[in-house]
Symmetry: C2
């Protein structure tokens, strides 16, 4: 993010050290990496006579895209180009950038997104089968723009590219905490940059219903805290996404996860209650229980659930899906179907009788019945039904799309092979849950195709994948910090060949992409600075930033469990402030990554330049305590996390000791071990590097992290 | 803005100097300053049991406002309050914050915005006549929130407040460069914070037409480069403004400034031409002319102008105003009427014949006829007509509102007294043109009431004022830098009593308000950092920021004239990049202001702490050259402005010399004088402070600056 590389480059500048790996232009910054790239010597220089010609059938969205590109390019290279703006009439084949496409299409799963891009010394040529392929090419071209002291240029390359998977999605939960409309638009801009093509919106859950319904207005009136998207906004959003070659898939989570819907229309419920939007588990009293006990309670408690046995239920959802189908014009409808434990159904004698009459052996079969009914309604309105993995059952139709999500290790998960054998297609989200606070490489190393699936089944059955960000611990203010830049690493996994999997190279490109994302799409960097500035009441941001930059939130479900069950009113409520260090810290520490590279370089070379680079950084951290303490009087938060600041300083001091060969190694390691324990729900990311300075060996990053 | 105070506080922390004026909480940060404020010892502490009760008639917008306040407050003080959110049913008179209002109203000019606010040790009470008054009170309360190391609190105060003027506007030109929808929303948020109540949108000009018309769709299709607001967006925007007690006034500039309209419907024109949206003066060839000659040419050239003699013109505008009246629901319609030199009319023989038939002596009378016809149409649709000062003529109806804009010193300007005598009301924008790059104090010291107007006429005739920001040199990326925080100083001029006019105290509060604006409303600080990061390709931002922070754009119309007439394709076109230092530099240098305070303190005290504070800053600037040069290789822009960087360093060196009593004073002053000359359209703001270190006397800031 903006300014994060400062520290590192300041260091390079100060030391004139030759650590080698930090040259920003030593290789291309393309992310996702294209199918094939050939680099030649030389460059295409941007000059005032740069212009664009287009050869292809009329496409309003492509004209808009090329003008966006043109404006952003002019701004980036700071040249007032002579062409005013680009219209369909600008078809000069001699233009410096000449774009040809054969067909203008609407975005759809399976569309042709391929393109070729050739940068010659005096001319750039893009060819694509479709206007959307040409849009993808413009994004690649933008990522090639490089500056040096003389000006901006593109290296000479020939790119041939097309995606590995058809479905490359990002799911955002806008229900638990509402995500403002303009934040969604910024996410769409970012998705386009990294070539994602499906925005999946989780629009309803226990905590809130987030779309205006004119047929059932109580849904937003009683089912939300006043925050929802108007129908005008949805239309604008869908158009905005389509212009960028992205489809929008709405999800309304049923038959469980529906307190907000039942608050509006309680007659849909499986049992009578005073329904209100809010957390479905009110487990304040069990905060001292262990995980097993909590899981047991959760699986045995009735939760707000739609009654699937009444015809009035389907009359309601027929009208509702009809209305939503008019708003969300892409041919998919996601009906949720996850985490229904069936207890509410078992406890209702009418429902039990219904099951008996129909010869259903268990609530799974009743759920399959519900899914089939929803499938029929969706089909009536030309939508293909999608459900989370619990929607799968041998009884469901073959053209239901199944979304795999459950992490391995906590109960049974979907057998992808079985689903594909049954004839259904699968979207993989297991391994891509951004809300687990895992570093990007964990997701990056997860292939969407399960290892045990044969090639033919994979080609037929794996539609693609989706990064998913649930919003118990996310709101409009930190959504961009949570999703980006990690979603870009996952985007590469979905677009690029499986053998593009060098983690260090991915990270190098990820930081460059993050800068671009902040320049052209998202406000991640600003969101972070804003809250850190609040911590110190606009007095010196530096020391709190130095601390927060090397912290990462505890991984897995630990924060969520703490947030839901502790503190009386859980932190995961829609109105809880999310402005602590664990809410702001990135799941990857960029500074931590650069430090790790420094340590690795030093341990390999043992030369003085690399030593000085490591030392410079450690001294800065060691000295940060004094600076941190100096700002601690201006507002209460720094004092609350001063133990963390003290640890950073102490850890750096140990590192410096180790570098100078002082102290007892065992004691040093023991002291360091004390600091690994999370404080304030974060961990210090540089500890493994310091440990390596003591032991002389940098351990590889863990291949996985525990969920709890 | 965020991080701008860092430098200064770092300095304080480093030196533990007691310069006295920088304590962030030494007085309240209220801006605009209320009519009356009584402070007592003690404080109201924010704790988890904070809650809100409301007593007043149903008001959806107030419920929304109070929930926005509540969410922002929770986030600011980082407390998870026990109240979930506030509904109309929350009417507990024992709540920690209790709000009473008597009437729910729609925003309107002349509405009752008064309120009282009393902060007791354990309870805050707001009373207002209207829900909008109560909204104003919430903004005041938010500005009272203060932190120290123990927590957040409000000082005990009793505020009684109401505005001096009814009309407190901000005009944004969205025509020349399009300003994105979300940027407008952020401006509305900022306006609400400083209690402005009119958003005036300049929606059409030669360069573009920016609203979707369904009746005349060519207006946006041929009259823009594809960027305009949809009708859905306008409806959303007006609702968004109304929720915040702000009305929206649309302006469509007629009969001149209309190339974009004529590009769509050329039959409306006074002469045939191939009309296209774009600059109306194509004066590339005259770039070497002096100002007088340019002015003479401008006044003698025919420019795109509506034909006011044809009935078809009024048929068109009847339909158009009818359509726009449905979108912009507030009862005002601004028809422009500025800068029509009449040449196009004089040259058309049919128009000349029409004038003769009607016995009109000059084109001013024809313009008055046009204004009267527009007035009649506006009235038909229940809108009151507004026009720029050229709309005034003894023949126009008394209920036309006249907006005064012309700066004194370049030709005749409106005689406000004459207008008021005639019975018309006046909105003052002369003195509040933000696009002139003047520092805030210049606007702040301009009273809306002309000195020669008697009190009775002023009370009757001066409706209020409007800050105005034209967009020849502004786009969506720097709009917030251009408008904020200066518009906040003008907002105080319109709200607070005339005798609230201490410039230093205004600036102190302005910097605090700017922080709040960036936290809750605008992205000004991020917009600035984004472009500076581009200059150095995401390598160390520090040295370019140190330079840009002390630069201010050249004042008056100098940049505009250069931008319109130089460079072949003028920089003021809608697609020109605006990313140079003059586009980014603020019209007030906050760092420069703090330095000036430091110098003043030192010249008064001559003590060592104050000396060290000045020295610390000068050394930083002196050393900045080396840091700046070090980042100059990463992208081309720093090298382009390295002469400016050299000057900053050299000026600081002179200051340090002077402090240590070395060197020849005359030579030093002479050297400094060389640096006053603008480079790259900016000036270095700290030169007067350095001059004072040489001469021993800090000259007062100029009372005015030349326009050209």
């Amino acid at each position: 993010m903006i300014m994060k590389r400062i520290l590192f480059f300041t260091l390079l500048i100060c030391l004139s050290g030759a650590t080698g790996f930090a040259q920003p232009t030593d290789t291309l910054n393309l992310l996702p990496r294209p199918l094939s790239t050939k680099i030649s010597a030389g460059r295409f220089n941007f000059t005032a006579d740069f212009n664009i010609g287009i050869n292809g059938p009329e496409s309003g969205k492509f004209i808009a895209a090329v003008n966006r590109f043109y404006l952003q390019l002019g701004r980036r290279v700071n040249i007032n180009f002579s062409q005013e703006f680009i219209s369909a009439a600008d078809n000069d084949a001699n233009a410096r950038l000449y774009v040809t496409y054969n067909k203008a299409i609407a975005p759809a799963i399976g569309m042709d997104e391929s393109y070729s891009l050739k940068v010659n010394p005096d001319k750039i040529i893009i060819s694509a089968a479709t206007d959307i392929g040409a849009e993808r090419a413009l994004e690649t071209l933008y990522q090639l723009i490089s500056p040096d002291k003389n000006g901006f240029y593109c290296p000479l390359v020939e790119v041939n590219d097309s995606p590995r998977f058809k479905w490359r999605g990002l799911m955002i939960d806008v229900a638990r905490h509402f995500i403002p409309f303009e934040v969604l638009k910024r996410n769409i801009d970012a998705m386009a940059i990294v070539k994602l093509n499906v925005l999946h919106l989780h629009l309803s859950d226990d905590e809130g219903f987030r779309v205006e319904s004119k047929v059932f207005p109580l849904l937003q009136q009683k089912g939300s805290n006043g925050y929802y998207y108007t129908q005008d906004q949805i239309r604008e959003l869908v158009g905005y996404a389509h212009d960028r070659g992205i489809i929008v898939v709405p999800e309304f989570d049923l038959p469980g996860h529906c307190s907000s819907i039942l608050a509006a229309y309680p007659y849909l419920a499986s049992y009578p209650s005073d329904y209100k939007p809010g957390q479905r588990y009110k487990l304040d009293s069990i905060k001292n229980l262990n995980l097993g006990k909590i899981m047991q309670l959760i699986s045995s408690m009735p939760t707000p659930t739609i009654d699937p046995t009444k015809e009035s239920t389907y009359t309601f959802f027929d009208k509702f899906i009809k209305e939503m189908s008019g708003l969300f014009t892409d041919p998919y409808f996601h009906a949720g179907a996850d985490e229904n434990n069936g207890v509410a159904w078992k406890q209702n004698t009418d429902i039990a009788a219904f099951m008996q009459n129909k010869g259903m052996k268990n609530t799974d079969e009743l759920q399959a019945y519900f899914v089939k009914r929803m499938y029929d309604i969706a089909k009536k309105y030309n939508k293909r039904l999608i459900g989370w993995e619990e929607a799968f059952n041998q009884a469901i139709p073959q053209d239901v799309i199944v979304q795999k999500w459950k992490p391995s290790g906590i109960g049974p998960t979907l057998n992808t092979g079985e689903v594909v054998q049954h004839g259904n297609q699968v979207i993989i989200s297991a391994g891509y849950y951004l809300d687990l606070f895992m570093p990007a490489y964990i997701h990056y190393q997860t292939d969407p195709v399960p290892a045990d699936l044969n090639q033919a089944d994979a080609a037929k059955g794996i539609l693609g994948g989706e990064a998913a960000q649930w919003s118990e611990l996310m709101d409009g203010n930190n959504e961009e910090i949570r999703v980006w830049p990690r979603a870009a690493a996952i985007a590469e996994r979905f677009w690029s060949p499986a053998n593009v999997n060098d983690v260090d190279d991915m990270y190098r490109r990820l930081w460059a992409t993050d800068f671009d994302l902040n320049e052209r799409a998202i406000n991640e960097s600003f969101a972070y600075q804003k809250v850190l500035s609040l911590w110190v009441n606009d007095v010196d941001l530096g020391p709190v930033r130095t601390l927060a930059d090397v912290c990462t939130p505890v991984k897995g479900y630990k924060r969520l469990m703490g947030g839901m069950f502790a503190n009386g009113k859980g932190r995961t409520n829609p109105t809880s402030p999310l402005v602590n260090i664990a809410d702001m810290a990135h799941s990857d520490s960029e500074t931590g990554w650069y430090f790790r590279q420094s340590v690795a370089a030093y341990l390999k070379s043992h030369n003085d330049a690399d030593l000085q680079a490591v030392k410079y950084q450690l001294q800065k951290w060691q000295n940060n305590k004094a600076r941190f303490d100096a700002v601690s009087g201006y507002a209460p938060y720094p004092r609350q996390i001063s133990d963390l600041s003290d640890n950073l300083s102490a850890a750096a001091a140990i590192g410096l000791q180790a570098l100078s060969g002082e102290g007892n190694k065992d004691n040093q390691l023991k002291q360091l071990q004390q600091m690994v324990k999370p404080l304030h729900e974060v961990q210090i990311a540089i500890l493994p590097g310091i440990e390596a300075l003591i032991s002389g060996t940098l351990k590889p990053e863990p291949a996985s992290y525990p969920m709890f």
